[in-house]
Assembly symmetry: C2
Homo-oligomer: 418 residues x 2
């Protein structure tokens, strides 16, 4: 009979958390797994490997794919081989089988709870292709080629969305923050919206520039809808979904791994796609099939579901927002209190709770700053290649301890470079 | 210091392979994970859980997502929490970081080795959206709206591809197996190709109907190219890539989980997309960015990479084909040797090595057959809802033992129903 003995021997060959300090456990190839039944119990020794999680895990400030809740990763790991007694990995399951059916339904239902999405009025779709695919899908589904639509562009992602829309309708750029290097959000009163525009498009949080809408404009045309790319602040705070016609978000910031895009679309907007719309970009196809028209990205949806459970267990998005506000506050305070050693260019009232870009007054020190931080276990702090500087992405799953460690490092770095 | 003791206690809460027979270990929610440091060693008992792999694992005959190599799942599980000492999960890593860069480059390079893809002449793209997205991308990239293209339709997937292409060019149906219920492949000599067709499209293996091309037609227009949807027989046997302009395949049959689509495209065909092509459907965008234009489905690509390694370790696709031929042979022999108790409707010369559809002469027994097989650990044998009957998908990763068990069950079932 297999006992703990074989469990031990299995884990010696498949360490859950190989410590980089113990090279003998690391090179997986050098330890072909023996059949558990052939391993003698007496040969097994307690492995000298620490599974202390905090020691192994680094703080990952990447803008996306980004850090995920540790509990979600551990749960996914524990059930990756045999999903809840099914005898299969979640990766191997038919998307039309009962197990995955339960996964996707629960993910949708939990997301509806988190964001209080009205069941009757909105469809929730789990799609592929990232927000970039939605840059085309939105105009293709919401308007005819001759229709006018309005774009407020507060950063690079909004700009990409605007440019893609020009292929499919008459897209107007009604405001751009480009001349201010995307550090502002316009006042809504001053926006010159087109009276016939079918929708008004915003990017709720610009990942590269760290500019975030704190409230939302209303389309002046009463038949128009507000559309938001929420990729990088999705589920970071409560949102009144009823103000939007379409919300879309790539998962790989706050809610999952890359490979799944969530679209929340008001049902009356579905069913009018342009004739040149490929089936995969047609909201009606996916809404009618409950996101199962073709094979969905099952594993990514499963992980999103675990994250939604985790967010609900935390008390929902109001609690999540509190944590995010606290974390961002500590970091912005450190920047603003540095006597100009660190500078955040973004207007204070619209600073992102998710992506905190900053520069060093002595810009030649930035490379050193990023390198030394990495040595201390804080990685991916380099600003986007288009803007340079430093960027700390502190999504939901970044622990407070990560931000505190970064701030302590910033203070120490400043002290060492007077 | 953390020792095996905390490892044991951790695993008690996060069993790698929870046995359905031990309910106390199953309901994850009822066992909130205590911090390892708070667990007393003396409280930990060896868990009465078998990790014997073969006992827990069922045989999954699903058409896709489908069974994966067991070694790949175990490896993915072992390194899911801390990818090779990086302190992060592969799910959390920036797609522009050095770790993922190595993953995607090795995946591409291993796939090129497996299929002997000429480096200079073909691009390999890792995309999203499934083959269904390629149904649109192929015409959008390969022809103008007025161009003629030819489709040979040998099953449901080819038919979907043909219908989608009609949106974007003049798609001609030059042969259809529909009247024969998709049980045949035409003789190539008799095909009436359009002399100006830009490409000739086939579906190399029809997943639903079990019809597989054993060799390939040549476009009669010497400037035209052959395009193949190889989703369900990709990497199941060697293929002379140089015969094709485009090969595309959803990963979720032979090479990975759902969520990534591989496109192999001749480089001179890239760069002529129709103006209405969304950026995400434009091969040039992805080829110029080495599949990193936007965030790719990183985890799915990582798993494909592990599968490619596994296929190379098996000796490459010639060896893989040998195994597949053997497995399919055993199953078709059992069907053909059943004196009509089991019937495969597909013409013998074009029977798929991957998807084996069959019916029972006494069709009222099919439900019972599928149910009893499931009880014996062989699941997902139900035929596609559009055709009914039974279907055994026996992709690369289905062990010979799975086919042997199925055949033994078939014989026993027949004996019990004279």
């Amino acid at each position: 009979m297999a006992t703990l003995c074989s469990l031990q021997s299995f884990l010696l060959q498949h360490p859950l958390h190989p410590s980089p300090k113990i090279p003998s456990l690391l090179p997986h190839k050098q330890h072909p797994r023996p059949k558990p039944s052939t391993v003698s119990c007496t040969a097994v020794r307690p492995p000298p490997v620490s599974i202390s999680v905090a020691n192994d895990r680094i703080f990952n400030f990447a803008a996306g794919p980004a850090t995920l809740p540790e509990s979600v990763i551990l749960k996914a790991q524990a059930e990756l081989y045999n999903y809840r007694g099914s005898g299969m990995s979640i990766m191997e399951m038919s998307h039309r089988g009962k197990e995955f059916d339960a996964v996707i339904k629960k993910a949708e239902s939990d997301l509806r709870r988190l964001l209080a999405i009205p069941d009757d009025d909105y469809a929730v779709l789990f799609l592929q292709g990232g927000a970039t695919t939605q840059f085309a899908a939105v105009p293709l589904n919401l308007c005819a080629p001759g229709d006018a639509v309005d774009y407020v562009v507060t950063g690079s992602w909004g700009d990409k969305a605007f440019k893609e829309a020009q292929k499919f309708c008459k897209a107007n750029l009604i405001w751009s923050g480009k001349s201010d290097k995307y550090t502002k959000i316009p006042s809504f009163e001053g926006l010159e919206q087109n009276p016939n525009a079918k929708y008004l498009h915003i990017c709720a949080n610009e990942t590269i520039h760290g500019v975030e809408f704190k409230n939302y404009p209303t389309p002046s045309n009463k038949d128009a809808v507000l559309v938001a790319d929420m990729s990088s602040n999705f589920c970071s705070k409560p949102v009144d979904v009823s103000k939007f016609g379409v919300i879309y978000a790539g998962a790989q910031k706050n809610v999952g791994p890359s490979g799944v895009t969530i679209v929340i679309v008001r049902k009356d907007l579905i069913g009018n796609a342009q004739p040149i719309t490929s089936v995969m970009l047609d909201y009606k196809i996916h809404a009618d099939s409950a996101s199962l028209y073709n094979t969905p990205p099952c594993f990514a949806i499963y992980i999103c579901g675990l994250v939604f459970e985790d967010l609900l267990e935390q008390g929902g998005l109001a609690e999540v927002e509190k944590n995010n506000t606290k974390k961002a506050g500590i970091l912005y305070d450190a920047i603003d209190g540095s006597n100009g050693f660190y500078v955040c260019p973004v207007e204070k009232s619209v600073r992102s709770l998710m992506n905190v870009p900053f520069t060093l007054q002595k810009s030649d020190l930035e490379k050193k700053f990023i390198k030394e931080a990495a040595k201390e276990g804080m990685i991916q702090l380099k600003g986007h290649r288009s803007v340079g500087g430093v960027r700390a992405s502190i999504y939901n799953a970044m622990p407070l301890a990560g931000v505190e460690k970064l701030v302590a490092f910033m203070k120490d770095f400043q002290a060492r470079h007077p």
